[in-house]
Symmetry: C2
Subunit: 321 residues, 2 copies
C-alpha cells in the first residue's frame, strides 16, 4: 500500500519517457511540450490507487494511468485554444507558442497516443476499460461545451451548473479510480462505489478551487488571487451570490462585472462575503467530502486499505493551495 | 460478392442512424451536421470489400467501417478549421456554421464515437484493429502537419511530398482495406498485400484528383475547375512544373502565383501543359494504378473474388469527376 505522494513519485518516474516519435518535430515537439509543463498527476495516481485498494498494482494500471494523463493533457491543449488562454502553469500555452492549427493537431495526436496506451491492455481488461474511457471522453466534451454555453448566459441554473462541473471535472477523477478498480478485480458494486466517491470528490475539489481563487492566501496559493473574478468566470461563489443577493447587491455585482475597475476583485470579494458565499462554499465542499467518504466507507474491503484514499480526499478538499 | 455500388448503398442505409446522443444539442447537432453533408463513403466500403475479398461480411466489419467513416469526418471538421475553409461539398463547414470552438469540440466527440464503434468489436478482432486504427490516426495527423509545413515552403522535395500524401490520404484507404481483411481472416501476407494495394491506389487517386481539378471537364467535374491553382495549393502538377520548368517559365509561374489575376487559372494551366505536367500526371497515376493492381494480383485468393476491387480501382483512377 502506497500513499498518494509515493505513487505520484513512482508515476512521475514512469511517465518521464518519450511518448511520441521524433518526426515530424513540427507536430511532436508541441505535443511533448505540454507534458513538460508538469502537473500534480492526480488522475493517473488515482488510477493506481484504485487498483491498489483491491490488489497489488497490475502492469495494466500503468498503461491506463498513462492514457488518462495523456487524455487530460489533450483536453488542456484544446481547452486553452477555445479559451484563448495565453498561459498554463505560468508558461505559454501550446497554441500560444506554436499557433492554433498545430496546437489543434498536437492535441489530436496526444489523444491518439492515449488510445495507443489503452491498446496495450491485456485482453481481459481492454474492452471494459476502453468503453469507460470512451464514455468519459464524451462526457468531458459535453461538459466543455456546456461550460461554453453557460459563458454566454447571465444566470445559470444551479443544478445545470453542477451537472456541467460533474461532466467537465468529476467524471475523469471517478473514471480513473474505477479503471484502477476494474484492473484490481473489484466487484461491480465496489467499482461503482469508488466511482461515486470520485464524483463527489471532484465536486468538493472544484468548490475548494473556486474558494481558493478568491479567498486563498496569496503566499500559499501560487496563482494570482481573484483570477476567476477578473474574467467573470462562472464559479460556485458567483452563482451562489447571484442567487442570494439583494436587488441592490445584484446591481452592484452586474456593474462590477461589466467593467474592469482596479478594485474589481476586492469589491466582488466583499459582495461574496456580504452574501455569505465564502462560508457557504466551505460548507458545501465539506458536505461533498463527507458524501464521498461515505461511499469509500461502504466499499467492501479492509479499512486499512482505504487509508491513503481517505487521507488524499481530505487533503485535496482542505488544501490551502 | 458485391460491387462497390451495392455495398455503398448498403452502407448508406446502415450508416443513416443517429450516432450521437441528443443532449447537449449545442455539441451534437454540429457533430451530426457533418455526416448529413454526405460523401462517397469510399473508406467504409473499402473495409467491407476487404472483408468480402476473403470471407462473408462479419458484423465486426460494419463497426470498423463506421469507425473509419466517423474518423474521416473528424479529420474533415478539424482540417476545415485549420484551412479556414468556408465550404465543404458546397455547404457551410461546421466551424463556419457553429464557430471554431464548437467545431473543434464536435470534431473531438466524433473521434470518440469512432472509438465507441471500435469498442464493439469482438474480443479477437479488437486489439489488432485498435492498434492499426491508432497507427493510422497518428499518420494522418503527421500528414496534415507536413501539409501545413509545406504550405510555408516555396519548393518541396518530391519524395517528401509523396510521403505527405501517403500519410494524409493513402494510409486511411490502406488501413480500411486491411481492417476488413483482418476481420475476414486473411493471412498476414494477404493483409499486407491489400494494404500496399490501398497505398498505391491512394497515390493514383490523388494524382487523378489534382489532374481533374485543373483539366477536368467542368460539366462532369462538379467543382469549380482550377480551385487548387487559385489558392496556390501544392499539387502533383505544380511540383512537377516547378521541377522541369525553364528559368523563364519559373519566373512566370512565380509571378502568377504571387497575384490573383483573372486569367491566373488559364495561364497556369498553359504553363502546366507547356511543361508536360498533364501527360506526366496521367502516366504517373496509371503507373501507380498498375502497381496497386500488381499487389492485388499477388493476393492468394481466387481471382473472381478480386473482380470488384479491380474494377473499383480502375474506376477511381480513370474517373472524370
Amino acid at each position: 500500500m502506497h500513499s498518494f505522494d509515493a505513487l505520484a513519485q513512482q508515476f512521475a518516474a514512469y511517465f518521464n519517457r518519450p511518448h511520441f516519435p521524433q518526426s515530424p518535430p513540427s507536430l511532436y515537439e508541441p505535443a511533448a511540450y505540454i507534458l513538460k509543463l508538469g502537473g500534480k498527476r492526480v488522475r493517473p495516481v488515482l488510477c493506481l490507487m484504485g487498483n491498489e485498494l483491491f490488489e497489488e498494482i497490475h502492469a495494466d494500471a500503468w498503461s491506463a494511468a498513462t492514457a488518462v494523463e495523456l487524455f487530460h493533457n489533450f483536453t488542456l491543449i484544446h481547452d486553452d485554444i477555445m479559451d484563448k488562454a495565453p498561459l498554463r502553469r505560468g508558461k505559454p500555452t501550446v497554441h500560444g507558442l506554436y499557433g492554433d492549427s498545430t496546437a489543434l493537431l498536437a492535441g489530436d495526436v496526444v489523444f491518439v497516443v492515449a488510445y495507443e496506451y489503452l491498446s496495450k491492455l491485456s485482453a481481459t481488461n481492454l474492452p471494459k476499460i476502453l468503453a469507460l474511457f470512451n464514455k468519459t471522453a464524451k462526457e468531458v466534451c459535453e461538459g466543455q461545451q456546456l461550460d461554453m454555453d453557460f459563458e454566454k448566459e447571465t444566470a445559470v441554473d444551479f443544478d445545470a451548473y453542477i451537472n456541467m462541473i460533474t461532466l467537465k471535472t468529476s467524471v475523469v477523477l471517478a473514471a480513473s479510480l474505477k479503471m484502477g478498480a476494474m484492473i484490481g478485480g473489484a466487484s461491480e458494486r465496489n467499482q461503482n462505489l469508488l466511482y461515486e466517491f470520485g464524483k463527489k470528490l471532484g465536486l468538493a475539489f472544484q468548490v475548494q478551487d473556486d474558494y481558493l481563487d478568491a479567498f486563498g492566501d496569496p503566499k500559499k496559493f501560487g496563482k494570482q488571487v481573484g483570477g476567476d473574478i477578473m474574467v467573470n468566470k462562472k464559479t460556485f461563489l458567483l452563482l451562489h451570490t447571484q442567487q442570494v443577493a439583494s436587488a441592490a447587491q445584484k446591481a452592484e455585482l452586474e456593474s462590477l462585472m461589466a467593467g474592469n475597475a482596479p478594485d474589481k476583485v476586492e469589491k466582488v470579494k466583499a459582495l461574496y462575503k456580504a452574501c455569505g458565499a465564502d462560508g457557504w462554499a466551505k460548507e458545501l465542499s465539506q458536505q461533498w467530502l463527507t458524501e464521498a467518504l461515505q461511499h469509500l466507507d461502504d466499499i467492501a474491503v479492509l479499512s486499512r486499505r482505504k487509508e491513503h484514499l481517505h487521507n488524499l480526499a481530505t487533503q485535496l478538499v482542505q488544501r490551502e493551495f
